[in-house]
Symmetry: C2
Subunit: 164 residues, 2 copies
DNA sequence: GATTTTATGTCAGCCTTGTTGACTTTCCAA
DNA sequence: TTGGAAAGTCAACAAGGCTGACATAAAATC
């Protein structure tokens, strides 16, 4: 009874528990992206487009550079995605007023519509999960995820409007 | 005070809270994969190889078909990955004894060594996160993730050895 | 015993999304 | 006025998804 980690309160740190956490992340992330992925297929967009749309919606008038640091990809990679979203009329690229080298990105009504469709699908799943497990579990979920982020990403994360 | 969702216990279901959950998943998953990704670079392998190695280690002697259903990719895609792991001597493919059509996959010592290196890196991050937040938060984390999975994936998830 | 189904492997070709490198244009700021 | 930052673009490449077609062996079924 008193073998292994010793105290019951440390059982959650056994390698088996950690492994379960790892697999939970893997399977849950698949579920997490499944619904948007299905929607994106109808528009022939991919996850990269979804990510761009999401973060432009979160921070309207954000610059390309800022988006790059959030998404962690090269400008060439982002540019290809952004190019198409702009050409398709989902994103507007506004020349900066103070600094005219900067481009400020905003969603057009068409872009906002797709964003709403995607995020609604994702929220439905998350709402169902949250409702199933209750507020305490949700608080724990958020704490673990935040602790698992890279520190620089944690900074981006805390910038959301409703931050606590 | 009594506006919005009404009761305090439902605040975790506001769209803003759900959005924070969505972003938390995005940033945390990036952190979650960052350490293995760095290791894989040294061997010129990708995440696909990591996933295959992980699930072969979890269920030794698993068949190709079983692995396909867990990973959710096409056999052509998996075959390319598996081919290289076998050629490189990380995975052994054994002809089935009862059914000779089946191939049973096991890690070689070399494969097990890489698996250990990868999963140790991932466990270190998860252990740090778990330790930071404590057992109750970890329980909540696992509950939310499980609730967020697709049901068929939840089935694969519960098959782990230490299942509760 | 012949036929069908299942499990696997493989070839070819396509797409998305990541990468590096090189180069240009614009334009702020020292 | 000039250096360097911000942005855009072209080209080429790789990983890892996908589809479709086809081959083989063995099991299962008729």
């Amino acid at each position: 009874m008193a073998e292994g980690g010793g105290s019951d309160s440390l059982l959650f740190l056994t390698d088996e528990q950690l492994k379960k956490g790892i697999e939970a992340m893997f399977f849950a992330y698949r579920g997490f992206t499944a619904d948007p992925d299905r929607i994106l297929e109808n528009y022939a967009y991919g996850r990269a487009h979804h990510r761009a749309i999401h973060f432009i919606n979160r921070s309207p008038e954000t610059t390309v550079n800022n988006l790059l640091s959030i998404l962690g990809v090269t400008k060439q990679s982002l540019n290809r995605v952004l190019r198409r979203l702009i050409d398709d009329g989902l994103v507007e690229s506004r020349v900066g007023k103070r600094d005219k080298r900067e481009r400020h990105l905003v969603l057009t009504p068409k872009g906002a519509a797709l964003e709403a469709e995607l995020s609604e699908a994702q929220r439905i799943r998350m709402r169902a999960a949250f409702r199933t497990v209750g507020p305490d579990a949700v608080a724990g979920f958020r704490q673990v995820l935040e602790a698992m982020m890279d520190t620089d990403m944690r900074h981006h994360f805390s910038l959301l409007k409703d931050s606590e």
